[in-house]
Amino acid sequence: TQLLEQSPQFLSIQEGENLTVYCNSSSVFSSLQWYRQEPGEGPVLLVTVVTGGEVKKLKRLTFQFGDARKDSSLHITAAQPGDTGLYLCAGAGDSGGYNKLIFGAGTRLAVHP
């Protein structure tokens, strides 16, 4: 069974601080996705990383896929209250042309003004 472990589970910081959250597995994934979920809403895709070692940036967010495609990290620079939410990583196993995602339990981030 493929599992994704996210750490930390909870993170409470002040506006302007930097933070990194991690997503680890013993399994290799064909791609890994990061989603952000707000209370009472469905997850919204932030980024997909496909190649081992790949780094993608989305404004103040930097995503990295591990060389062996088993882990990933999300780094947020100068966090803002609007970054508050549940960050989920999800690994994709190729099911023959479409996605079947395995989710981590998430990191719940609170950014205080």
Binding site: G42, P43, L88, G97, Y98, N99, F103, R108
Partner: protein
Amino acid sequence: DAMVIQNPRYQVTQFGKPVTLSCSQTLNHNVMYWYQQKSSQAPKLLFHYYDKDFNNEADTPDNFQSRRPNTSFCFLDIRSPGLGDAAMYLCATSSRIEKLFFGSGTQLSVL
């Protein structure tokens, strides 16, 4: 405009009383998924349709059923809800490996 629409947003049912949750999409995607998400836990895949082909996860209880009458609609039926079935139910669609589109979810309460 919302592309994956789930109704209702909040559903309250009684223990053992059947309930149906609905999902519709305007994206014309081949694949539709149902996930269950309990508080502070990862979304858990219950089943998915690839076109009309139904794929059940091995650990999805028999109490959960699904119907997909056409490309646009998919339903989740819970035949006899128990207290442990209270959760957020998320519908998602995809046509390519890279991206899933999620609805806003239905929060189910069981009294």
